[in-house]
Amino acid sequence: MIKIVGLHKSFGSTPVLRGVDLEVRRGETMVVIGQSGSGKSVLIKHLIGLLKPDRGEIYVDGIEISRLRGDALQKVTRKFGMLFQGAALFDSLTVGQNVRFGLERYTSYTSDEMDRIVADCLAKVGLRGVERLMPHELSGGMKKRVGLARAIAYSPDIMLYDEPSTGIDPIRADAINDLINVMKTELRVTSVVITHDMVSSYKVADRIAMLYDGRIIEIGTPREIQNSGNPVVQQFIRGEAEGPIKIF
């Protein structure tokens, strides 16, 4: 479904990704873990064509997307729903218009049908009757959930979640984990989830990949990751300040 081969990306003279290889199978939930600043958001933005690799290829359904432009690229973005780390709601539009945005551009539902889907998707993330509010009237966690509703509204095949539970209370965060799982079982959505929350990783992941030093250093099922012999992985999943990863 998604295949990343030898992905390199630098900003100026700072290399961020230095040869990432990763394959995500159809219908699976791949969790990518890694330290803050390790390039997880950069990685996920390559999948949808928001960033172009310096070197390497990205295949989505067998099509190499990193050199596509214009309409050809928008055909690919149609397959993706993306939850941004900071929600990225359009602040000049109401919540309802935000959730409708992708529907209007990617689907041909009537206006009434769209209204219903919008209400539906908002309900799925635990929000009701907020359509007319403006984003600045929402709390941080509510924004995140509206961002999620906006991403799932047009039923994409692939969901990219950039830290879905960050900034959300633990109960709501778990509800979002459930939603990710429901999307997988009921709608057969393929997902890439970025997180540094190990509890939710174990709950949603079919496989977990760890990004470290610009590469995927370990990949496996939650059990395999837990039993990993790699000290870097062990330090990260246990959340220890002491270890091979130097933070100062």
């Binding site: 933005k45 214009g70 928008q74 149609r78 993706f80 900071g86 602040d91």
Partner: protein
């Protein structure tokens, strides 16, 4: 030698020129080839046109007054008392060809161009531009194209209103305040002011409109580095577009024929 352009600066300048060129190309493609974002266009027409009207009227009025004042002094001193009735065509020509298009463009760039940079810049740093793209709205089509079309349409319209206001203000100063013969003043104005004089002003205004929108959007789209970056983008927009407008103005005035002999 601090003012000698160094190779590094020349390269940076050419790079930026290239960026603008690419943005212009993409904007044109979007304007001529794709479906328009009609809602955005209407919103921008209102924002640029209707909301700029008070500022334009005010600046045009005082531009007209002061231009009347100095022309009166000039005629009175160098041609002689009584020649002030012939100021009409000079005032109208100067206003409609130069002063009003420039004043309007600089005011609109300060009011609207900076707002474009701030708004798009904020969208950039909060990932809203990325979100647009991921939801099937090409940022150039959704943000840049409507702003450019609206600005190219509205700056000439504002200039036309400004021309009228400026000429009325000039008339007010010369005829009403200084007591020059109304009849002769108007007759002379009608006799010597060509439609083309007004038209060149409007053509320039359309070009300035494009400059304002493209530079505002360009700076917005390349914003980096938080609130500070947005502030920098807005300031730069006003400086770059005002300078570009002033420089372009000279070359456009030079290139456009002075008269077509049309009435």
């Amino acid at each position: 030698m601090p003012f000698f352009p160094r190779p590094r600066h020349t390269i940076m300048f050419l790079e930026q020129l290239g960026e603008v060129g690419i943005l212009v190309g993409r904007t044109l493609r979007n304007i001529f080839r794709r479906r328009w974002e009609r809602g955005m266009l209407i919103q921008q027409l209102e924002e640029i046109g209707v909301r700029s009207l008070p500022v334009v009227l005010l600046t045009a009025a005082f531009g007209g007054l002061v231009f009347g004042l100095q022309t009166y002094i000039g005629f009175h001193r160098y041609i002689g008392p009584g020649s002030e009735v012939y100021t009409g065509p000079i005032i109208s020509l100067g206003l409609s060809k130069e002063l009003i298009p420039l004043l309007v463009a600089v005011m609109v760039s300060g009011r609207v161009g900076s707002a474009m940079a701030a708004q798009i810049g904020t969208m950039k740093i909060t990932e809203q531009i990325d979100a647009l793209f991921s939801l099937g709205a090409d940022p150039v089509r959704y943000l840049v194209a409507p702003r450019t079309v609206a600005s190219v349409v509205m700056v000439p319209c504002l200039t036309m209103v400004g021309d009228l206001m400026g000429m009325v203000a000039g008339y007010f100063y010369i005829v009403i305040a200084m007591g020059v013969n109304r009849h002769v003043y108007l007759q002379n104005t009608m006799l010597y002011l060509e439609l083309w004089d007004v038209a060149t002003g409007l053509i320039k205004a359309a070009v300035f409109g494009a400059v304002i929108a493209i530079i505002g959007c360009w700076q917005g789209l390349k914003t980096r580095g938080g609130a500070e970056g947005v502030g920098r983008a807005t300031t730069r927009t006003v400086v770059i577009s005002s300078i570009t407008i002033l420089i372009l103005n000279f070359f456009l005035s030079k290139a456009l024929p002075a008269s077509l002999g049309l009435k």
